[in-house]
Symmetry: none
Subunit: 400 residues, 2 copies
């Protein structure tokens, strides 16, 4: 019996409410004063909650592994991200709010420039502006393939999404991008027999697409990457017998939530609007995924102060969340994005778990170093939802 | 190679003596003064030992999972309780000291009341007294089935155990209790082809049994639950090449010990009598499982003070155990039973490991919060026996 089967067997419905607050990329590294972003932030609400909570550090995927946003969230939602991999094409489609179904095969597309021999000159087509990309996408929508529907959607600049929809499509396909210039694009190849028809259809589409764009000076070709179907991931609403709501300002996080069985609760662009959404839908769901994006964005920018400021905003939001009287609150991040690295990193992520039934430790503030002494010790991301469920009184005893 | 195969490969016989002291349900939650049951108890012997030991916290099954007594002990004995599940029928039979063999199929039985249509009126037959149950069991012993022996045994009130003994019996069978009144009992159904004959025999038995009890006003029917065989669990005496003794005041714990290859050492009703048993058999065994029951019972009652008192009794017993000069002592529990929850819980269990060769940490008392800072960190129950074996000098090097 794997963990999801076990949780499915043990979960029971209830009336308790759980909030999973995710500060994207919250984990950091010491800044100019020797404190991390989270340690430097003035967070009276997080610290007061930490005093009554049990805290620790969590590894999103495996020690040393740097998680993308997909694996980070898949882990937070209780799945082993190694077992449940979400392809780049799928994430890209979710990121533009494209509603992927089980018969969809999605690819991330990059416009490219090639010479007369078809050798790649620029893998990003001179980073054409989004409007140019949109015009090209419009052209590509003419292409028809036998037996499947096709969707081509703008993402940003030279990036687009291609989705084939139909029975019998399969993933297990190679990418066309050779990752260098001066050579031609590769054909899509099937890595397993079930994917052969999909490879054939994608190669047909590519041939047509290149014909249609032959006269475009900057974007006369394209590559397809991360060609993937939605994984047949068991849904959290089924596993845990509850209703879940996703609150996030960026479509990709809503999309991952939808992928695992959450209802997407419409919200605005700010943490304040997310809090309003939470209040509005409080009675409707058992479990809320509350996503704070900009901790990650400023971490990627290497902007220590701005990341600190977002954490302080999240701290203020926490007070409003607690005023709703949730039964269980877990605060963590999908991964670390330390200002010093300007990128996602492998570092463990601080985690705080509060309920009436936690066994509080003696940690008095929420930060990376305090969490090293926390009573939770070192956990994995996929342990969080089971711990929340137990604290919510929604797991029955295992065995007699 | 799984853990048991590894241990089997590495284990060597020796002359060292190990004691695994299990305070059932010892893990707790803060009480009126902010201390847990274990922290509040006056335990000079445990604390003195903790100073020379390495301590930590252990998860019995998986984070968030609330263990039954079966999985808790299976874990303590070095098995992954997810992999080695012991059915309720088996535990119930072990609980009345029924000596189950490999050809036995055991079910927990509940007497029930049904109306003229066979619809259930009371799933517990008005909680008839044990004497009435015994009279009914006597009647049911008349039933003969083709090719198998049958045993019917009183448990308590409306509960009994049914065991079929014979070649070719298999588990993988559904329960008959529909878990509601106003509907008839379900037939036993085979979940796999090997179990079809067993289902047929049990349904024959049920038909006969209901005929025999047709005139009983309160208990004219019954249901069978948790129909299971003893799992083909590798025995500890074989794996670790040693002789093990189980000392427990309740038959079920002796039964689980016997299931994993321990000799049951007869004892009385008190911790003091268990200590006498340990002394008497000290020369006979390499490994002693010493079970203290009432920490759990008082936890289930929500009785903080009484649980504290049992821990203090166990502390006094520890002094006598140490006087026997064991080489390795491990003290823990099968799971937590915090007074505040009045039930088994998912919380980690404190663990203390002493031998001449442990690397002592700086923890000076045995309690949940001190154990959060212990040198063992956070382990799983199935790690304990390997650590005891290593400390006992009974494991050879792995690899050259």
């Amino acid at each position: 019996m794997n963990q999801l089967e076990l949780m499915n067997k043990l979960s029971i419905p209830g009336k308790t409410k759980m909030v999973l607050m995710v500060m994207d990329g919250v984990g950091g590294l010491p800044g100019p004063d020797g404190l991390t972003e989270l340690e430097a932030a003035h967070t009276p609400n997080l610290d007061a909650l930490a005093k009554k909570s049990v805290v620790g550090l969590s590894t999103p995927v495996r020690p040393g592994v740097i998680p993308g946003s997909g694996p980070g969230h898949v882990g937070l939602f209780g799945y082993d991200p190694i077992e449940w991999q979400v392809g780049r094409g799928v994430l890209e489609a979710l990121g533009i709010d494209f509603d992927l179904g089980p018969n969809d095969l999605a690819a991330r597309g990059n416009f490219a420039t090639v010479d007369a021999n078809g050798d790649i000159l620029d893998r990003r087509a001179g980073r054409i502006p989004t409007e140019t990309g949109a015009r090209l996408v419009e052209k590509l929508r003419q292409i028809k393939l036998p037996g499947v529907e096709t969707f081509v959607e703008v993402v940003k600049e030279y990036r687009f999404v291609l989705v084939l929809r139909g029975e019998g499509l399969a993933d297990g396909l190679t990418e066309t991008d050779p990752q260098m210039t001066g050579v031609p694009s590769l054909p899509v190849e099937a890595l397993r027999p079930e994917a052969e028809r999909s490879a054939e259809l994608l190669n047909m589409w590519l041939a047509e697409a290149r014909k249609l764009l032959a006269d475009e000076p900057k974007a006369n070709s394209m590559n397809l990457r991360g060609i993937a179907k939605v994984p047949p991931i068991p849904k959290m609403n089924d596993i845990y017998k509850m209703k879940l709501g996703a609150i996030a300002t960026y479509p990709m996080y809503c999309g991952i939530g939808r992928l695992v069985g959450m209802d997407v609760l419409p919200t605005g662009d700010t943490i304040a609007s997310e809090v309003e959404t939470l209040k509005k839908h409080w009675d409707e769901c058992d479990f809320f995924f509350f996503h704070v994006k900009k901790t990650d964005s400023y971490g990627e920018d290497g902007n220590f102060d701005a990341k600190v400021h977002v954490i302080e905003e999240a701290d203020a939001a926490l007070a409003e969340i607690l005023a709703l009287n949730p039964d269980v609150v877990l605060i963590s991040g999908d991964h670390s994005t330390p200002w010093a690295l300007k990128a996602h990193s492998w570092h463990e992520v601080p985690v705080l778990l509060w309920s009436k039934y936690v066994r509080p430790d003696d940690v008095e503030a929420f930060g990376e170093r305090p969490c090293m002494h926390g009573g939770l010790g070192h956990i994995r991301h996929y342990d969080m939802v089971p711990l929340m469920m137990a604290n919510a009184g929604r797991l029955t005893k295992f065995g007699a």
